[in-house]
Amino acid sequence: MIIAIFSGDIPSSAFIERLIHDLSNKDFQIYLFGKRKKKVNYNNNVKQIFFRQNRVIIVLALISELIKYLLGPFSVQKLKQLHCFARKEGNWAFYYQLLLVINNKPDVFHLQWIKEGHKWLILKDFNVKVAASFRGSHINYSPVADLALADKYRQTFPLYDGFHAVSQRIAQRAQEYNAPIENIKVIYTSVLNSEVTSPAISASDTKFRILSVGRSHWIKGYQYALESIADIVSDYKFVEYCIVGADPRDEELIYNVSNLGLQDFVKLIDTVPHHEMNNYYRSAKLLLLPSLDEGIANVVLEAMSQGLPVVCTDCGGMGEVIVNGENGFLVPIRDSKAITSAFRYFIEMEDKDRLWIAEQGRKTVLQKFSVERQIEEFKQFYTSFLK
């Protein structure tokens, strides 16, 4: 079975790279399509097929792909249709990209992002199944503000062969845009077993560090986190809040830090290489996810796997991970007071209770978010519509 994975760029974002890595450890043949950004080494069963960027090379590549097409099984009539479609939806470069995919004959073309997905549906006419993933902004909030996009979704979602959703909640949302429920399979992301270690609660420090991880973007809800920190430090001076991945030059963020008088309590750390993240998880007492929406936040799974207890907004699929008070804490979105209460409760908890929560969190990740389970489910997903 040849699975084509398309996310635009090679390499793609961290979690898509992880998915590619996980899938390539199984008996799939994987073709990656996309613009080349950097050299990457994958397993032998992963073939990288680059979309060229140079105009001259595109013309030459287009000629060569046309010849390959004519030697292949499909009719000239179909080529004409393809040509018209490509002209309507894009340009010559897109025409060449479509041909390149068709000539490589993948069984499934799996789009990692849904927004521009409809452009690739024509591949169905060439015996390629088209699948797409529902994740992040493309399904959560873009169609709320962009009504034309919502319309496009409603028209085209019934045409896909299958959908992968990163959470139950996202699968429900997609149904609002006419995605047929029977075509959606929820597959949770995974955390590598080797990353799952025993709880790190014992890390002794005079500071009580609360950690958040994620870029500076309004969807992350940092203003509510900062308001809550302002509340909590008035009683607990030893609390320190650290946001990893936030832009220390983001105007709104630094304004809020300054306006709430938190200069001495908040650290904004630009970027941290992924392998160093474990140090941050280990030096913190609590992870906070103040987001307004998420698929399922990977940082929460990672933190839990490291035995770091989590306070997290009840957004997107987070309620599918956390049972409030059992393996972490759930608070309503956009509610700094609720975050403060959770902080207070946690700070006042006895060590053994914190350890228990951490241990439950770790177990949840081991059981529900293992690589083996994820790969098995992807296998079922792909085979389901190949039959």
């Binding site: 709320v144 503000a145 309004w218 304004y255 306006n259 307004l292």
Partner: protein, 394 residues
């Protein structure tokens, strides 16, 4: 006197305050010259000559740029030397001096008594221009330059503050923030609040709604500093209470997607409408058909929209922050509530809505009177003229 005003772009015709300011200065016998950082089509604005900065290009255009600069400087070699000498004294390298010379070349040749910067960020890289021209240097302080920009660029006005002769601030709060940002207290300053053409806002009759649906309004850019999400949170509480209302936000900006999503999450799609940017004439109609005006900002320099809303007889509920505290007289021309506290805003809306018609009318009258007395264009223009004429007094 000859007064040079530095603006970021060539002003549009709708900028009533600027037009009046320029006309006021001209009528008082001064000549006004405008310097714009961006290229615009008009070479004259409100009877004042507009000088655009020389746009940098590449290749042939780049050389043409250098040639233009050279032509200007040949006309005034003394200025170029003075500029170089001052910068050298400040420890700038030769290449830095040349770079700054290119940036300032369109201003340097003129003979002026005052070089006035329309807002503080415009002074950056032009700190020594006035000195080289032997002109006095003035600046107007605005919200963003003082409340936000220096947080990102620490001590960015350090050089400029030393050169300034006089500061204009639109509110006392903003002046105090500038002091925190390093403005020496010894520098003379004048408070001149923004002003509006209140007759334009008052002339039409209010269309008070007869229904029990409260008409709520905010006018402004869709920007995070406006605290619009907190306003929406308050309205979600209002909806829970079963109170019927309609909220309109006039303006556009970066926050569109974020606000649409907040409206969706608070389930306010039927109550809230983002109508985009409107002309002043259209905006007046929104004010006139609204009962309560909300300004839930985190910070404001002063906020013209709140002056306009008062002039139009809206009942204003605004954040207790920055220049808004000087704009609204609490319980007299409107109400102040703490910023970032949706519950407080919600309670105040309920309270204001429950006032008797008589009580509402008293507030409306006082608000109109407040604008007429304190924020009228003619007085402000006089104050501005005096700002330049009496360099050494407040």
């Amino acid at each position: 006197m000859k007064i040079g005003l530095i603006l970021s772009k060539v002003p549009g015709y709708s900028e009533t305050f600027l037009v009046n300011k320029i006309k006021g200065l001209q009528e008082a016998g001064h000549s006004v010259l405008l310097f714009s950082n961006a290229k615009g089509n008009s070479r004259v604005f409100a009877g004042a000559k507009v000088v655009s900065s020389i746009q940098k290009g590449t290749g042939v255009r780049g050389n043409l740029h250098n040639l233009k600069v050279l032509m200007i400087l040949i006309r005034r070699p003394g200025r170029m030397l003075a500029f170089h000498r001052i910068l050298a004294g400040e420890g700038y390298s030769l290449s830095e001096r040349n770079r700054l010379l290119l940036i300032n070349a369109h201003i340097l040749p003129y003979y002026l008594d005052w070089l006035h910067f329309g807002f503080a960020t415009l002074m950056l890289e032009k700190e020594f221009t006035a000195k080289a021209m032997s002109a006095k240097m003035g600046v107007s302080l605005r919200g963003y330059d003082i409340n936000v920009y220096p947080l990102k660029h620490k001590a960015c006005y350090k050089l400029a503050w030393r050169q300034i002769n006089k500061v204009h601030s639109i509110s006392t709060a903003l002046y105090k923030s500038a002091i925190q940002q390093g403005l020496p207290e010894t520098v003379k300053w004048t408070l001149i609040t923004p002003a509006i053409d209140y007759i334009f806002f008052q002339r039409a009759q209010r269309k008070d709604s007869n229904t029990d649906v409260i008409q709520l309004l905010t006018v402004g850019r869709l920007a995070w500093i406006k605290g619009l999400e907190y306003g929406l949170a308050a309205l979600a509480l209002l909806k829970n209470e079963g109170i019927r209302f309609k909220y309109t936000i006039v303006g556009d900006g970066d926050l569109y997607e974020r606000l649409k999503f907040a409206i969706y999450q608070y389930e306010l799609d039927d109550q809230v409408e983002l109508v985009g940017k409107k002309t002043p004439e259209e905006t007046v109609k929104y004010y006139q058909s609204s009962d309560i005006y909300l300004q839930p900002s985190l910070d404001e320099g002063f906020c013209n929209a709140v002056i306009e809303a008062q002039a139009c007889g809206c009942l204003c509920i605004v954040s207790d922050t920055g220049g808004l505290k000087e704009n609204i007289i609490d319980n007299k021309t409107g109400w102040l509530v703490p910023a970032r506290v949706p519950e407080a805003l919600f309670r105040k809306i309920v309270e204001v809505n429950a006032l008797s018609d008589m009580q509402k009318e008293i507030i409306r009258q006082q608000a109109r009177q407040h604008v007429e007395t304190n924020f009228n264009l003619a007085d402000q223009v006089t104050l501005f003229t005096r700002f330049f004429e009496n360099a050494d007094s407040i």
